[in-house]
Symmetry: C2
Subunit: 560 residues, 2 copies
């Protein structure tokens, strides 16, 4: 303790500040001891952040021995929030916002004292993170990834004549093909646009998916997930306050966050909940006209298809109408199609690219200059490889000089992670009939898909069986976005707690059941309506029952 | 051909535009046929970009049968450069600029006609990309990465009692430890700050590296290479034109590029070439004062140590002076220390964090509020795993609310690639004496290091043996940045070709020898001096001799 007493007053105040810092940084885990989060070499109850307590010089008469003051300036204060870029401050990303942060807090609390919460684990239904919820990675993917990381092993397997018990021959062949295309090592930077041969594979996939509408590797940019593509596109296309970007409401908050970072205007167009969250294309043109009237240039239109958070799948007619507006007003279309594999029932996914090509053919000259950026990712679908950061965008109709600017911007980040590029290759070119991995791969895919389909249905039915919840039938993606009719008393209680009513519901749900969701306010919703987004990725049915029970209690408690 | 003839005039003009587009996008490979870069399914000499030639309707009387015009609006033109964000347009990144683009062009040309160039391969000395130049990845890293990608294999190896011929027991143990820490799969998103246990390992590494100066996992952010950290920091700290960021000249162009993107001011401080590219700290304070006088707030100071492109290593005295300025003016210091492992001869690397902690202890109160962000990466050193995108930053002295903003910004990109996080763990915690992989790992590290050291020396000696080249002795990093005294006639010739003289030299060098470098103008240099940056990663000595011969010829040709 003598060291503690020996600090100068400035050191003591620094101590307070640093301890405060620890607490505030870990708002979510303030109730824990330091043992879990600190270096194990530091004793509990030691003021861990005061570095000087470990290093001060010899103590003389209770005061700190100071060397002669070499420096005679007054040190400046550290930065405060108002010193930062206001656009960064304005960006919000609810998927990792207050409810998920509270969930982390409860998780730590639970590990300390399992009985302090009425559930035994957190169900992370806030984010489309399949493998966190025990979705098994596809074996073929992981065999190939394992081999490309270890070329010596690959070589020895090839010498043995591919008789490995562990790696299937087609995985060995694919790993070799990819390593050759990459240039020998996934540890080298690739070109910033991505490995050419992999882009060729993507182009072949698109051509096939779109019924023969040709795609070209020059139009493909491999990216670190679809998020990086959105970042490149909006950074390049946004010119600050003069620019408007049409986004669907509800939307995936990446879009509003990126627009905030670029200080550009989100121009909302509202999806029609009562029509299964369909897109009202007449509304879109109204939004465009209003923006022009307000001196904002509507430069970009974002389409999320299948919808996040809505799960709706766009009809061909809606897509055509969107391109009509795009062509008429010269608006770039961003087609976020990362959920194209997540389609349920007899719904069909039609890519925007395919429709655009058909319109170009059927109406010569009328749609040739439409600019479309289509996004895809390895994070969703049956792949679910979120942590591997694989993605691509396909550019259609952009002038070459615009593409060069996008490429330059990508080059500042050097290259997309090369193993993510490998994964893109595997996603768009899975084992085919006759390949050694085919049967198992199909089985794994079918199992994952059937499980998701089943849980989506069950959750949908459960919601609609409950008083005060309405939910549209899921057509695609990984989410449901039910509407909660909020009892007046619940609205009052939320107000008292300085929360939005949907946030209040999500918080109560989390604390009662461990189910972590995201309030609808994070995605946008018609004023006076309340929603939440939940994935249906979590295994089992118990959590769905828990939710139903929670909801009934909530409704009974707050019923008007 | 009837299809070609059948196009409407608008379609024909579209055809021209699309062909032009192909050519312009691939400026670098215009002289090739389309076979290499196009889908193999497309015939040579087919106007490959005219999609309609494959899809037009039935031909009637030489004219295109058009459906009744359903749309009666005039389509808008596609975007032109001036429609884009001017800050993105202003960003330059020379490491992947005109000379490397010309190299790609030659590479394609060479594959078509090997005799059309006077060399047999391109030597990519423009970018620190060790594994592209055959530096072998460390075996231990790759064993672990191979296992974390394939948990089923890991499990079966564990059941066999770790008797694998292919994987060493410590690699198996580490893979299990990491998978447990990650939560079971590298395919799941991690927290946006990175896996806690890996951050703990990083903190332990820093504590050890810095002779016991404690580091904490809460201060560590795992990032996709150091580039992502620079992006987060400058995006958050820059407030447009009012902000100034001190950068060394010459600098790594990521900094000027990122400043351009953020529309903030680069405040150059010049390194002293004659003193081995040392940092003149008096100059730094002058730059700070001038900025304040000019109403620009000097918010950040970037230090690259060891230097890129200079190879210089900062002395402890210089670091102390830098912190003096930082404390006095409240300037955030970014310490780009990605080359901390690349140290040659008897030079010692001292981290800025270590010096800061010592100053805080020795001068209580005087340096407590200094804000430091220290960057590291798996791309350099003996790791050289560029394509895997691993990195971290350590934050010191920032207020908690500032760190929260950085974390929010990181969360918009969801998470750093999880295998890159794994690689960070391996880099900061390599096999130790007693571990099964230790001996081989040491041998591999020593071999790589000795090779680099040898080649750095040879290249340095060669440069200084040549008339008109002066080169400072390399202390660290992967580069030499020699000064070229440019003969007047060469300057004239460059002027005629509308190039800078250093760009002209690099172009001539490339076309004569295949050696690809980056002109000094991409990094900044004192007006009237000319430099280039070259890595010394390329294996062998022949290219060094080729360079010497080229230089003599160049000098003879352009001698005044």
């Amino acid at each position: 303790m003598s060291i503690l007493l020996s600090r100068s007053s400035r050191s003591s105040s620094l101590l307070c500040k640093r301890v405060l810092q620890t607490k505030t940084t870990f708002t979510n885990i303030t109730s824990t001891t330091t043992t879990n989060i600190m270096s194990p070499s530091i004793l509990i109850n030691t003021p861990v952040y005061d570095l000087k307590s470990f290093h001060t010089g010899p103590v003389i008469g209770g005061g700190l021995k100071r060397s002669a003051p070499k420096y005679n300036f007054e040190p400046a204060e550290p930065l405060v929030i108002s010193d930062l870029n206001e656009h960064v401050l304005n960006a919000k990303y609810a998927v990792r916002g207050s409810i998920p942060m509270r969930a982390e807090e409860l998780n730590v609390q639970m590990q300390k004292d399992p009985k302090s919460v009425p559930f035994d684990h957190i169900i992370n239904a806030n984010i489309g993170n399949p493998q966190q919820l025990n979705q098994k990675p596809l074996t073929f993917y992981r065999e190939v990834l394992s081999l490309v990381q270890y070329p010596d092993l690959l070589e020895s397997l090839e010498k043995e004549g591919a008789s490995s018990k562990v790696y299937k021959p087609d995985a060995i062949r694919r790993a070799r093909k990819l390593l050759n295309a990459i240039g020998g090592s996934v540890g080298a930077y690739s070109t910033s646009q991505g490995v050419f041969e992999i882009r060729q594979t993507v182009a072949d996939f698109i051509t096939k998916r779109d019924g023969g509408e040709l795609a070209y590797p020059e139009d493909i940019f491999l990216t670190a997930g679809a998020s990086a593509a959105v970042n490149y596109l909006l950074s390049t296309l946004c010119r600050g306050r003069e620019t408007g970007v049409l986004i669907p409401i509800p939307q995936y908050p990446l879009y509003t966050a990126t627009l905030a970072l670029n200080n550009s205007n989100a121009l909302p167009y509202y999806l029609e909940e009562k029509n299964g969250w369909s897109t009202n294309t007449q509304d879109i043109e109204k939004v465009v006209k209003k923006a022009i009237h307000d001196n904002v240039k509507p430069s970009v239109l974002v389409v999320i298809n299948p919808g996040n958070p809505t799960g709706a799948v766009l009809s061909r007619e809606s897509i055509e109408k969107i391109f009509e507006v795009a062509s008429k007003y010269g608006i770039v279309v961003i087609a976020d199609e990362v959920y194209q594999e997540n389609i349920f029932g007899d719904v069909k996914f039609v890519s925007m690219k395919k429709v655009l090509r058909e319109m170009q053919r059927n109406h010569p000259g009328q749609f040739d200059d439409v600019q479309l950026a289509s996004l895809h990712s390895t994070s969703k679908g049956v792949s679910g490889e979120c942590g591997q950061r694989g993605g691509y965008m396909e550019l259609t109709g952009f002038r070459p000089e615009i593409r060069q600017v996008l490429l330059k911007l990508a080059s500042i980040s050097l290259c997309p992670v090369v193993t993510g590029q490998v994964l893109i290759d595997l996603m768009v070119s899975p084992p085919q009939p006759g390949d050694e991995s085919y049967a198992q791969d199909q089985l794994e895919r079918d199992t994952i898909h059937a499980e998701l389909d089943k849980r989506a249905s069950l959750l949908y039915k459960t919601f609609n069986s409950l008083e005060g919840i309405e939910c549209q039938k899921p057509q695609g993606a990984m989410y449901l976005f039910p509407s909660i009719m909020m009892p007046f008393k619940a609205v009052q209680e939320a107000h008292r707690l300085e929360m939005t009513p949907d946030e209040f519901y999500c918080k109560e749900l989390l604390e009662a059941t461990g189910i972590c969701t995201v309030p609808g306010s994070g995605f946008g919703q018609v004023t006076g309506t309340y929603h939440l987004r939940t994935t249906f990725l979590a295994p089992g049915e118990k959590w769905i029952n828990d939710w139903a029970n929670f909801h009934k209690k909530f409704y009974n408690k707050y019923r008007d």
